[in-house]
């Protein structure tokens, strides 16, 4: 705009003042660290002042590091909880949408794990997964099943973590689906009924597509979050699990950076993780675009 009246200029000045804090915060705590991290990934940074450019050596070592691949595999494996959580949450939301008595109480009860501190929950579940006295094996014993020592077995430690993360996140996903379900116009279902559709057809052709935006949101945010999983692993399996079978990428980054002071290497790993998240998210957006529809 070429016209800059005094009024406009005053407003602009105040506006810049008002947004100054977040913008400065963004620069100091996001932009600068990001650039520093990108640079650091190409050096032999060890936190004590040494920071010599070593080109792609960190990345070369990274892609030959079996622990990196293990942590990557673990992290992706544990994302199996996402589809499980989505299916369960949608079913719960459908159930809750029927308006039965006690809806509000149910909502609160299902949400309590969500707002509980992750550290406290991890401590609780670590004890719950105890091979001899834990709650989980007590429950299995009711069905005459002898439960394993969940967190000590390479084959069961990841499923154990998946179960816990699904348990913890269920209420949140359910709430989102509930809100989405309640915004589907009832007239759609009525029209379908008149056309002779049964409950399953109504679900498949109306409900599912109508909640797709929420499903997309949940998958994207859960993949971004799941890629950065740390607290549960650090509290429940402080050494990264039996034969490193529960260590996540962030856990390994943390170990390398603050345990071994290999900051350059850790930065390189963090960058690879960041890129991974970015690419996966981009792919999801592209797929979603292809499949989207507009309501008239």
């Amino acid at each position: 705009m070429k016209t800059t009246s005094k009024l406009y200029r005053t407003e602009q000045r105040y506006a810049y003042l008002f947004i100054a804090a977040p913008v400065i915060g963004f620069l100091i705590f996001a932009m600068v660290p990001l650039l520093y991290s990108i640079y650091g990934a190409f050096t032999d940074w060890n936190g004590l002042g040494q920071m010599n450019f070593i080109g792609l050596e960190n990345f070369k070592n990274l892609f030959q590091d079996e622990y990196f691949y293990k942590s990557m595999y673990n992290t992706i494996f544990m994302m199996l909880g996402i589809p499980i959580g989505i299916v369960l949450a949608l079913l719960l939301a459908l159930a809750l949408n029927r308006g039965i008595p006690g809806t509000n109480t149910f909502r609160v009860l299902y949400y309590i794990p969500v707002i509980s501190s992750l550290a406290a929950i991890s401590i609780l579940w670590q004890w719950a997964y105890n091979g001899d006295y834990g709650l989980v094996n007590q429950f299995l014993a009711l069905f005459d099943i002898k439960g394993p020592n969940w967190l000590q077995n390479t084959g069961t430690v990841k499923p154990a973590l998946i179960i816990m993360t699904v348990w913890k996140g269920l209420g949140y996903t359910m709430l989102l689906y509930l809100a989405a379900l309640q915004s589907v116009p009832k007239s759609f279902y009525e029209a379908a009924k008149l056309d002779g559709a049964n409950a399953f057809k109504a679900f498949w052709y109306i409900t599912l597509p109508m909640v797709k935006p929420v499903t997309f949101f949940i998958i994207v945010t859960n993949i971004i979050g799941g890629a950065q999983i740390f607290t549960e692993i650090n509290v429940m399996t402080p050494t990264g699990g039996p034969e490193f079978s529960s260590a996540s990428v962030v856990f390994y980054i943390w170990q390398k950076a603050f345990g071994n002071f290999q900051l350059g290497y850790a930065s390189a790993m963090a960058l690879v993780l960041g890129l991974f998240i970015f690419i996966v998210t981009l792919i999801q957006f592209k797929i979603n675009e292809k499949n989207s529809f507009d309501l008239d």
Partner: protein, 294 residues
Amino acid sequence: MEVAITKKTTKAVPMSEKKKNRITNTFVFVLLSIGAIFMIAPLLWMFSTSLKSKEDVFSLPPVWIPHTISFHKYTEIWGMGPLLSGIGNSLIVAITVTVIGTFTSSLAAFAFSKLQFAGKNKIFIALFASVMIPYPVVMIPQFIMFSNIGWIDSLLPLIIPGLFGNIFMIFFLRQFLTSIPNSIIEAAKIDGCSYFQIFYKIIFPLIKPAVAAQLILWFMGIWNDYLGPILYLNSPEKQTLQLVIANFNASYAIQSDYPLIMAASMVALLPMLIVFIIFQKQIIESIAISGVKG
């Protein structure tokens, strides 16, 4: 005309439709109740464990209601670790950040939604994009940065960044503000209000409900934070609550003093639980809105 048709349909459809509904609803209720039990049982078990004697903890078959209910552990925990200072530290961080951060965030949201300035959209998108940067990518340089100014092992690295505002809150408030007509602001301008006056006399009172919900969620997030504190806080008296109970777990699990660990964890869990139950309506609404809009 419509009434006549509906009357006709209810007569034509047999009572079994209503009955079918009732049966499904009862079935649904039972399923939801079973699910709710799964959700709550671990927490109840945690509470029950905190009241048990050692024999009860390790007894088979398992004991849910302890033979001797003892709240003894709840008095013991205060002396077994820096629990009180942990609560204090968590409160200091959470209150400071949410109070000041809410101020900066709502001021910025006001500017982004109601004021005109060059580059408004570009700046907003850039701020929002910063959310996409995963914390592990910036945590190492941030740590070095704070280390260079000597802030390691203090609460400052956890407090200072938050004071600059919270992008989620800014985004949410900005959306909320679009429903407030510009004419109010224009009228205030004509009346000679300064921009600050417009903010605290008009805008802030109007967005109070939205702010309240976001503030509570933010507070809970800070209270429950683990990765930030574990990076910066080393000495026990500086640690926040979550770290303290994690250390309880690490130290006392070897002694199998699970009642102690569970009691401490309950203390960490309870405040936010109470906050949630009091403010559940606002919290749940706020989350539902953010999800649907997203």
